[in-house]
């Protein structure tokens, strides 16, 4: 992975409003060549609008947007020749076969990869003659990404590539994205899955209400807010919150999905205190566990709500 040279994406103070709705409200970031950059946020955060401005599908209201060193407003055609695009939940011509669709999309570009090569690379050989409407969800998504790569692009945009896929299909797509990076391509993706961002992205921007709240590598984002580790267990009324907050090592107590989370900078001390307290009150902290803080914690901390709400 090389992260040298001019950035492949440079966005400065991008704004895009729809009437009173500030879909994107002053966003700035850069993506380096060879980097996988993730944009993380709930539905309606402005991720898709941002990515569609970069793809040349929507004009920005204001701000400066450069892709591969070119202004999206003045050079949309040159940019489109060199980028790959996978849109969120798009179906294709339902009655064309996999082969026909790859051929067709290839014909739109000056340079394109052989159809056979893409079919093999995306393991679509057995379905090469199937209509796109008869493909499974995972196969459709693989075809959709194969079409994004038909022109062997330098920069690939993936908008929620794994939404709606089963865990196995999701894993296989993650491998594909990692493969893209190994080929030296830059990738910008959006997702609302934390583990996906953590697994794939060199850097992540967390977006909500049209703004970027925080940006950096995943360890950076976690380390910036959470020096502690988290002790968690199923919330029970027998263990009152105010006493939990005063246990040794605890900096903060939080409620998350029916669990109590104690952020602690001295886990042995906290667990010892917790067990003593449970014994005294004849309570049992069920499903007790310890983990590092995650992106999910970062998001909760930033926005006060869970990502999938």
């Amino acid at each position: 992975m090389t992260q040298s040279g001019a950035p492949v994406i440079r966005v400065t103070d991008l704004k895009k409003h729809y009437g009173d709705v500030k879909a994107v409200d002053g966003v700035s970031f850069e993506v380096a060549r060879g980097e996988v950059f993730g944009m993380l946020g709930p539905n309606g955060a402005g991720k898709t609008t941002t990515i569609e401005v970069l793809e040349g599908l929507r004009p920005p209201d204001s701000g400066n947007v450069e892709v591969l060193g070119l202004d999206v407003c003045t050079h949309p055609q040159s940019i489109k020749q060199r980028i790959g695009v996978q849109l969120q939940s798009v179906s294709l011509y339902p009655r064309l076969t996999v082969t026909e669709l790859i051929d067709l999309f290839g014909s739109f570009f000056q340079h394109h990869l052989p159809t056979k090569q893409l079919i093999d690379a995306f393991d679509l050989g057995e379905r090469a003659k199937a209509y796109s409407m008869n493909l499974s969800g995972g196969q459709q998504q693989r075809l959709s990404i194969a079409l994004a790569l038909v022109n062997d692009p330098e920069l690939v945009f993936l908008d929620e590539p794994t939404t709606g896929l089963d865990p196995q299909a999701r894993r296989s797509l993650w491998d594909l994205v990692k493969g893209l990076q190994e080929q030296g391509k830059s990738v910008m993706l959006t997702t609302h899955y934390m583990e996906e961002a953590a697994e794939l992205c060199n850097r992540v921007a967390i977006m909500d209400h049209g703004r970027i709240l925080e940006m950096g590598t995943v360890p950076e984002l976690i380390g910036r807010r959470f020096k502690e580790r988290a002790v968690f267990f199923d919330t029970t009324p027998k263990l009152p919150a105010q006493r939990l907050g005063k246990l040794g090592g605890v900096t903060r107590a939080a409620q998350e999905d029916g669990q109590t989370v104690l952020y602690s900078n001295d886990v042995p001390d906290t667990i010892g205190g917790l067990l003593a307290m449970a014994d005294e009150l004849s309570a049992e902290p069920r499903n007790l566990g310890i983990r590092q803080a995650t992106l999910e914690d970062v998001f909760l901390d930033l926005t006060g709500r869970a990502l999938r709400d």
Binding site: Q77, K80, L87, V90, S91, D103, S107, F108, F109
Partner: protein, 365 residues
């Protein structure tokens, strides 16, 4: 150019793999041709049955019957007034002619100068406009001939020619260009449905993310529909010629011009509809709502002159009226609703206006 052809081929494949589209485009109009063809060419006996009631029973009344027997369109069954009225109620005869008692006396009276005229009674069914007209025409012809002969002092009652002709061939010949007009109208308007579908599914947007120019997307849609229009034309006329032996006697080039002009006009109407419609369900519904009145108010299935006055006014506003008229004039030399140049101008006008509106209002997502 390679892109444009590739895209059109892809669109064509998509089209031919859609059974519903194939049905409406090819099977439906052919079915219309066959159905109307069979209905109107009435295999064999197409004579109108008329009941004959002779209350006079003289040589004179027999002479009148002889005169009527020479009318090729009519065939007679004789009986009492009650029987014939009952037969008309049942629909066995379309009209009843009653020869009054005293016909011979009356005729003799006329000849000898005692002006005693008499009248023949004709019972008709007002719901059967067409047969009623045929019978009335025939009766008028026969009696005119007889009156003329009587006035001229000659005893000869001769009916030589009748200007009423059988409508068999000309009805099918009238209908085939009309059905072609209907098919072209549907072909154009129905183009709105896949367009709205492609927008709703995000296919148009996905294409927008490639370097494909938008004009090629539009051009390939037009190209596809014109190719289908040509196929439809060959098919419909072919069936008409093969099954019902209609003859294309007009100007072939001019007819081809109207085929493409009409397809273009209704295609831009389809584009305009697609500009205003958001979902595929909406499009399917609205397309039906638009095509039904076009079909039935444009005089493509029955001659313009049969329409009541206010409907003719409506028909004169509809583009399908002019496409049907242009095609009929070009193909079978039918009588005109409007001058052929006006037909062309009206269609071109619809094309330009609808295209301009869609160019301004069409949304790609």
């Amino acid at each position: 150019m390679k892109t444009l052809i590739g895209l059109t081929v892809a669109n064509f494949k998509s089209f031919t793999r859609d059974r519903a589209a194939l049905f409406w485009t090819f099977f439906f109009p052919v079915m219309f041709v066959l159905l109307f063809g069979v209905l109107f060419s009435g295999s064999g006996d197409s004579k109108v049955s008329v009941g004959w009631v002779d209350l006079d029973g003289t040589r004179a009344s027999a002479g009148v019957r002889d005169a009527f027997n020479k009318v090729p369109l009519l065939k007679f069954q004789t009986g009492s007034l009650e029987d014939q009225k009952a037969a008309m109620q049942r629909g066995d005869v379309s009209a009843v002619i009653v020869i009054p008692k005293g016909l011979q006396d009356a005729l003799v009276g006329v000849k000898t100068g005692q002006k005693r005229s008499t009248s023949i009674e004709l019972y008709t069914d007002p719901s059967k406009t067409q047969t009623t007209q045929v019978v009335q025409g025939a009766v008028a012809q026969v009696l005119n001939g007889m009156n003329l002969a009587l006035a001229g002092g000659s005893e000869a009652i001769a009916v030589n020619t009748l200007t009423l002709t059988s409508t068999n061939i000309s009805t099918v010949a009238y209908l085939v260009p009309s059905i072609l007009a209907m098919a072209l109208m549907q072909l154009g308007i129905f183009a709105a449905v896949p367009l709205v579908q492609q927008r709703e599914k995000g296919i148009l947007k996905r294409m927008g993310a490639t370097p494909l120019e938008r004009w090629k997307l539009v051009a390939s849609n037009i190209l596809l529909r014109l190719v289908i229009a040509a196929l439809d034309t060959v098919l419909i006329i072919g069936v008409g010629m093969a099954v019902f032996h209609i003859q294309i006697v007009g100007n072939v080039l001019q007819a081809a011009g109207f085929v493409f002009l009409g397809a273009g006009a209704f295609l831009s109407l389809g584009f305009m509809l697609a500009s205003f419609l958001k979902t595929e369900e909406q499009a399917t519904g609205v397309v039906q709502v638009v095509q039904m009145p076009l079909m039935f108010l444009s005089g493509i299935f029955f001659p313009f002159d049969f329409m009541p006055e206010f409907l003719r006014g409506v028909a004169r506003l509809l583009p399908l009226t002019y496409l049907g008229d242009g095609l009929r004039q070009s193909m079978v030399n039918a009588t005109q609703v409007a001058p052929i140049a006006l037909d062309a101008v009206v269609l071109a006008g619809w094309l330009v206006v609808c295209l301009a509106i869609s160019a301004r209002t069409f949304r790609w997502e």
